[in-house]
């Protein structure tokens, strides 16, 4: 590749300082002796200036009104989701706390009630543990379902 070809390649970016400082001097030296590159350089500078001064198209007032209305609904929904999330988190934690707090009582009560029962495959305490875990899982699944539903409604809007 000749020096001329290399300079031609750099020319489009030269007008706006988008080439390395080391290249600028080399470019200027070449432009001083090459009419073709000098002309091309002027063209690129003109293109850049013209592109900067093109009229800016404006969005219509109806479009902006539509965006504002949709945004108002969306922001209200965002706040509602925040409130739901703020409510759901303590609920899940509370369900865990209640399950843990009542576990000794349930175990004692269960032992009394079910004395004499022979549950297949395990003890009364295993059954109660399973009951607690299922309850907690259901609470968690319900919370996730509510959050996903809120998100789906948001996407539809």
């Amino acid at each position: 590749m000749t020096e001329h070809d290399r300079i031609m390649e750099h020319l489009p970016l030269s007008g706006d300082g988008d080439i390395a400082p080391g290249e600028i001097r080399r470019l200027q030296q070449h432009l001083a002796v090459c009419e073709q590159c000098r002309q091309a350089n002027e063209d690129y500078a003109f293109l850049a200036d013209t592109l900067r001064s093109l009229p800016t198209p404006q969005p219509s007032a109806e479009l902006l009104a539509r965006v504002r209305a949709m945004a108002a609904a969306r922001l209200a929904q965002n706040q509602e989701s925040s409130r739901e999330a703020a409510l759901l988190a303590p609920l899940v934690v509370a369900s865990w706390a209640v399950a843990l707090a009542t576990w000794p009582w349930l175990r004692a009560a269960g032992t009394c009630v079910f004395t004499g029962w022979h549950l297949p495959g395990g003890s009364v305490s295993t059954a109660l543990a399973a009951y607690s875990i299922i309850g907690i899982l259901m609470a968690g699944v319900a919370a996730i379902a509510v959050i996903r539903r809120a998100a789906a409604i948001g996407r539809m809007q």
Binding site: P12, T56, L64, A71
Partner: protein, 192 residues
């Protein structure tokens, strides 16, 4: 350091403030619409994409990191929505959006000199506007980001999600292509 007005508006929108959203929309509406119009090149489509962009912004506003440039974040979202639209309208690889497929007239090369020397100054702007309209979408896009939005190359790299070297190369090709198209249009006008 105190946050800029745009930053404080974004933070307020994250808290659900509708007035802050109105301020943000007002600040960016013209720039964003111009960028989208350059990219999709159809006012009706630009309206749809503009609306979808703001909805996508509100869906994701809580995930916006204030440490990032809001301009780059907003334009990257707009770009994704617009590219989805272009893909639906014209399925295929994005690279195809870079080429217009028209051969240059015989004897005319991108390196030909004097694209504008025969055209009056007042006619040049019209010529450039027409030539810009005939550019492939991704060339129109990068020219708009660099010269109309006055974005730095690093910001453009963030918006387009491509390395800085690719931004330079694409911008260079876009300018070269624009100049060539101007030359071709001038030549065609002269021979008709």
């Amino acid at each position: 350091m105190a946050p800029s007005t745009a930053d404080s508006d974004v933070l307020a929108v994250q808290r659900g403030d509708q007035d802050a959203f109105a301020a943000l929309l007002s600040r960016y509406q013209n720039r964003l619409y111009r960028y989208l119009l350059r990219l999709v090149h159809d006012p009706t489509a630009a309206d749809d994409v503009f609306q979808q962009t703001w909805m996508r912004v509100l869906e994701n506003i809580r995930r916006y990191d204030p440490g990032r440039s809001f301009d780059a974040w907003l334009f990257a979202i707009a770009r994704n929505v617009a590219i989805d639209h272009l893909r639906r309208r014209q399925p295929g690889s994005l690279d195809e959006l870079l080429e217009d497929g028209r051969p240059l007239p015989a004897g005319l090369s991108a390196a030909a000199p004097g694209a504008f020397e025969l055209v009056l100054h007042t006619e040049r702007a019209v010529l450039v506007r027409q030539a810009l309209a005939s550019q492939p979408p991704l060339f129109r896009e990068i020219l708009s980001l660099r010269f109309e939005e006055e974005m730095k190359l690093e910001e453009i790299s963030e918006v387009l999600g491509i390395p800085l070297g690719s931004v330079k190369s694409r911008l260079s090709r876009a300018l070269e292509h624009l100049r060539t198209v101007c030359l071709r249009m001038q030549l065609e006008a002269g021979t008709s």
